[in-house]
């Protein structure tokens, strides 16, 4: 799965994107896998209420299923306009 990070999530993890193999059933399960990897992931995903997630470029919830998803993105609340 392609995993993208934006803004301070990108800075904390230290890269804009990576490819991760996973069998996680939901976004929350996938986040738990990432957090267990290294301290920088644990730091980036410390507070899920401060994060948003998009699945294949559509906003989604953390309990959303990952079946069939090709691209997942994590970022802080958006500040457009």
């Amino acid at each position: 799965m392609d995993v993208l990070y934006f803004a301070w999530v990108r800075e904390r993890i230290g890269m804009p994107r990576e490819v991760v193999q996973t069998d996680a059933a939901t976004v929350a399960d996938f986040v738990a896998e990432l957090r267990a990897r290294e301290e920088r992931y644990a730091a980036a995903f410390e507070d899920l209420s401060a994060l948003r997630v998009a699945l294949d470029q559509e906003l989604a919830d953390f309990d959303a299923p990952l079946a069939g998803v090709r691209e997942i993105a994590f970022f802080p609340p958006m500040t457009g306009g």
């Binding site: 934006f6 998009a54 470029q57 559509e58 906003l59 970022f75 802080p76 958006m78 457009g80």
Partner: protein
């Protein structure tokens, strides 16, 4: 309907004139322009705007389609810049066209509220004291509930 996500500056006058031209069935055009505001207590060197290529265009197109249907717009234009901008530079513009002014005003407000919290842009203010990501506010999120 035209959506443009671009790094380059845009010409507000030329864009507005082009948008207004060629409509005989509309009676109102509303435009909104967002400008990079300097910091209250420090001089901002630049504002950097990051976005999510692909999702940005899709999200804005969906908002614009929704505004066109909801407010019976004749047309809509959204230009949003990304990259490094200086204080005083124009970040973005919205233009809406409708038969009567109420719909054009409301559609512009609707689009601005959605662009603020649902278009994948992230702003960072760079000054002599460092770089700070701009935090989303509860007011911005609450503004969506009126629609």
């Amino acid at each position: 309907m035209r959506i443009s996500v671009q790094e380059a500056p845009f010409d507000l006058g030329a864009e507005t004139a082009a948008f207004a031209a060629g409509h005989s069935d509309i009676g109102a055009i509303v435009t909104f322009t967002g400008v990079v505001r300097d910091l209250p207590d420090d001089r901002m060197d630049a504002m950097e705007i990051e976005h999510y290529p692909g999702m940005t265009e899709k999200a804005i197109t969906a908002m614009a389609q929704s505004a066109v249907e909801r407010f019976a717009l004749g047309d809509a234009l959204i230009i949003h810049r990304h990259g490094r901008l200086q204080p005083g530079e124009m970040i973005m513009m919205v233009a809406t066209a409708s038969r009567h002014r109420k719909d054009a005003f409301e559609a512009a407000m609707f689009l601005m509220d959605y662009l603020k919290s649902r278009a994948p842009f992230w702003k960072r203010e760079i000054s002599s004291t460092g770089a700070e990501w701009v935090a989303a506010t509860d007011e911005d999120e609450a503004a969506l509930s009126r629609w």
